[in-house]
């Protein structure tokens, strides 16, 4: 291990098939049945699948149609995000009993830094066990956990004994653990990177460790440095409580592909209201608006524009989105539209505005019909 780095004790807690488990808990009839939470079998996308469904090869982000093909008995349930949020809150409350250093990744995962914890318990393994037990007793759901010296290894480890299990990688086991790890399991290595690694003869952590920093940098650029460090057990990212979102987005897939911008504007208005609602909930605004267009042939196009002031209002978002929509001709009929707002005012670079931004901008607001 690198010197000059005090060893941390990090736990990664991951709820097992969270959305699907919540649905099964709330509706006992669904227990033990293959279940997919998502927008339905025609054009929807599975956002979570129960373990019963996973056995058939149903995965999240899979199209509803394919999921149904793989598992004909699959039951589709519409998502109830408010309910998931409510439960997620309860789970987080348990985390905060142990430490304030909680970094939620999503509704169903979080990193906890328990190096110093409120219970004074020196064993992260025991804390993880206790937390999982309490989640089961107080919330009624199972969770898995990974325990190790940094976020990266904790995250990989939490997948090891899933569902309803945990895995500790002690400091002395770290090098061996990483060396034997399949390259696909490295967090941050997706399908594309994995294929590239395979071509370079990298299949396990050991293979990766054998490569020089220069080689990895040449092949993978900036990420090369990350891979080089990470396989040596170095991951300096701290557990950041209340991690601020980098962007806020809303999108919609249509039941029929759209060909006319006029109809798209109608949809964009709805999407913009949803986005504005989310922005209001988080009390943030941003400068960069991106219009995401997925065509009927699944090719993706994004068009973005950066304004020199922060916006969060629906009319302003819609105004810019409209400009982006008409900026260029559509290449095909459109299956999905989305608007996202990045360059948020949470970054702390708000005061870096140049003087020419004094220009007043006024927008006539509309009733939200």
């Amino acid at each position: 291990m690198e010197s000059g780095f005090s060893l941390r004790k990090i736990i990664h807690v991951d709820m097992d098939a969270f959305y699907a488990s919540v649905e099964q808990m709330d509706n006992p009839e669904l227990k033990g049945k293959p279940l997919a939470v998502g927008g339905g079998e025609i054009r929807g996308v599975v956002s979570a699948a129960s373990y019963e469904a996973r056995k058939f090869g149903v995965r999240s982000a899979m199209s509803g149609a394919l999921a149904k093909k793989r598992c004909p008995d699959l039951i589709f349930v519409p998502p109830r995000f408010d309910r998931y949020r409510e439960i997620s809150k309860k789970v987080r409350a348990i985390f905060y009993d142990y430490t304030d250093l909680v970094e939620p990744l999503s509704l169903d995962e979080a990193y906890l830094d328990v190096t110093e914890n409120k219970k004074g318990n020196p064993s992260a393994t025991l804390i993880a066990r206790e937390i999982r037990q309490r989640i089961l007793e107080e919330v009624g759901l199972t969770a898995s956990a990974g325990i190790s010296v940094n976020k990266f290894i904790a995250k990989v480890a939490s997948d090891y004994n899933k569902p309803n299990g945990q895995k500790t990688v002690n400091p002395e086991e770290v090098p061996e653990f990483l060396e034997s790890l399949e390259i696909r399991k490295f967090y941050g290595v997706g399908k594309v990177t994995a294929e590239k690694m395979f071509k370079l003869g990298i299949f396990t952590g050991q293979d990766l460790k054998a490569k020089s920093l220069e080689f990895l940098e040449a092949q993978f650029g900036k990420s090369g440095v990350f891979y080089y460090d990470v396989v040596r057990g170095i991951h300096r990212s701290e557990v950041k409580p209340n991690r601020a979102p980098k962007s806020v987005a809303a999108e919609r897939t249509f039941s029929d592909n759209l060909t006319s911008e006029v109809f798209m504007m109608e949809k964009l208005e709805k999407i913009a209201s949803e986005l504005a609602r989310r922005l209001e909930r988080h009390q943030i605004s941003g400068k960069t608006i991106t219009l995401k267009i997925k065509y009927s042939d699944f090719t993706l196009q994004t068009r973005s524009k950066t304004l020199n002031y922060f916006i969060s209002d629906k009319s302003l978002i819609l105004e810019t989105a409209r400009e982006l929509l008409y900026q260029e001709k559509m290449q095909n009929s459109v299956r999905l539209l989305g608007i996202s707002l990045a360059n948020l005012n949470t970054g702390g670079d708000e005061d870096k505005e140049s003087p020419d931004e004094e220009k007043t901008v006024s927008v006539q607001l509309k009733f939200d019909f």
Binding site: L316, S362, V363, L365, F367, D368
Partner: protein, 372 residues
């Protein structure tokens, strides 16, 4: 077929009906008045297919028949006559001959059967009100209707009838007017959207009139009958936006001010506003209202101060001066109140005085976001 009628009486009726006729018609027959004669009566109709208006005139005749007479030609001729009896005789050669004290005029006519038939209202519900009340309701709302072809429902006035009262609503998504009469009632709950054109015609005819207007309606058409006149029109199809949802309930900041003073200030200051946004800024602190505008492109700037009654937090809000002017202009009260919550929420403008018993007017205007 022959009838005798007073020239000014006929002209007056035809001028009213002529409002229905479009300047350019795809169907040439619509450039005509339909004359339907029966003993002692002449029924004249004009139509643009959407709206048909007809009036029954007392004339001296004992014949029957139906012909379509060119509207423009007839009106132009009638306008020039001093009051006198005119004799209309339908000749065999498809012309109608008019004899006056001055001479004879022949117009080609078409067969009355070619003229489109007005729809019959099947199974209508009905209510009635004084003509002037209807004209006022139209006048208070019609200016706030929209012109967006994509939202045709907003191009009309929304009529909401119930046992509790009659409500008329219009909006173009930027401003909204809700005009209520709680002193009137309808036999049945009904909602329909009236297009602008027939409403403008009705407003013109009925302003100041004490006659009773009967309104009959079903899902697709409405009929307004009064005195010797009937107007039937097609309703706008579609669902009216849920306007109640956009009326803010909590408005802690209440401004009350002399309407004429406010209107005059807004008008003056708006001359200096940006020519595309027409944006003016209201800054309210204590009992002082500061109205300002600027057009940076031309370095034009104006500012006025008015004293007012104000309860609430100091605030700044931007409005399109055109909307504000139109709305203030449409009210007759000496004093108005403007209720607000936040600079990005609608302001509610209401008259403080001068309302009839049972009359209620609520106007909403969305602000222009001030960005700096």
């Amino acid at each position: 077929m022959k009838f005798i009628v007073s020239s000014s009486y006929l002209l007056k009726q035809l001028q009213i009906l002529g409002g229905v006729i479009n300047n350019s018609n795809t169907l040439p027959i619509l450039d005509n008045f339909l004359f339907e004669l029966s003993p002692g009566k002449l029924n004249v109709s004009a139509s643009d297919l959407e709206t048909t208006m007809s009036a029954v005139l007392d004339v001296d005749t004992d014949s029957d028949g139906s012909i379509a007479v060119p509207a423009r030609l007839l009106l132009d001729t009638l306008k020039t006559f001093p009051e006198q009896p005119l004799t209309f005789v339908v000749e065999d050669n498809n012309t109608i001959e008019i004899s006056s004290n001055h001479g004879k005029y022949a117009l080609a006519y078409a067969d009355g059967a070619e003229f489109p038939k007005a729809v019959e209202l099947s199974d209508p519900s009905s209510t009635s009100m004084i003509g002037d009340v209807l004209a006022t309701a139209i006048g208070k709302t019609i200016f706030a209707t929209g012109n967006d072809d994509l939202r045709p429902v907003m191009s009309g006035v929304f009529f909401q009838f119930s046992q509790e009262g009659l409500t008329f609503v219009s909006t173009d998504a930027h401003k909204l007017v809700k005009y209520q009469r709680n002193d009137l009632e309808a036999s049945q709950v009904a909602e329909f959207i009236m297009p602008k054109k027939p409403l403008n015609l009705l407003k013109g005819i009925l302003a100041g009139s004490e006659t009773e207007v009967t309104i009959e309606y079903n899902e697709s058409n409405a009929k307004f009958s009064f005195e010797n006149t009937e107007l039937i029109c097609r309703l706008i199809d579609g669902k009216y936006p849920n306007y109640e949802a956009v009326i803010p309930k909590e408005n802690p900041n209440k401004l009350s001010i002399d309407r004429t003073q406010f209107l005059n200030s807004v008008r003056r200051v708006s001359i200096f506003s940006n020519k595309t946004t027409h944006q003016i800024r209201l800054k309210i602190a204590g009992a002082e209202l500061n109205i300002s505008a600027e057009d940076i492109d031309y370095s034009n700037k104006a500012e006025e101060r008015l004293s007012c009654d104000y309860q609430g937090d100091d605030m700044q809000i931007g409005f399109n001066s055109r909307f504000l002017t139109e709305m203030l202009n449409n009210l007759n009260s000496d004093e108005v109140s403007l209720e607000m919550s936040l600079p990005n929420r609608a302001g509610i403008l209401m008259p403080v005085d001068g309302l009839d018993e049972g009359e209620q007017i609520t106007m909403l205007v969305m602000p222009v976001m001030l960005n700096n």
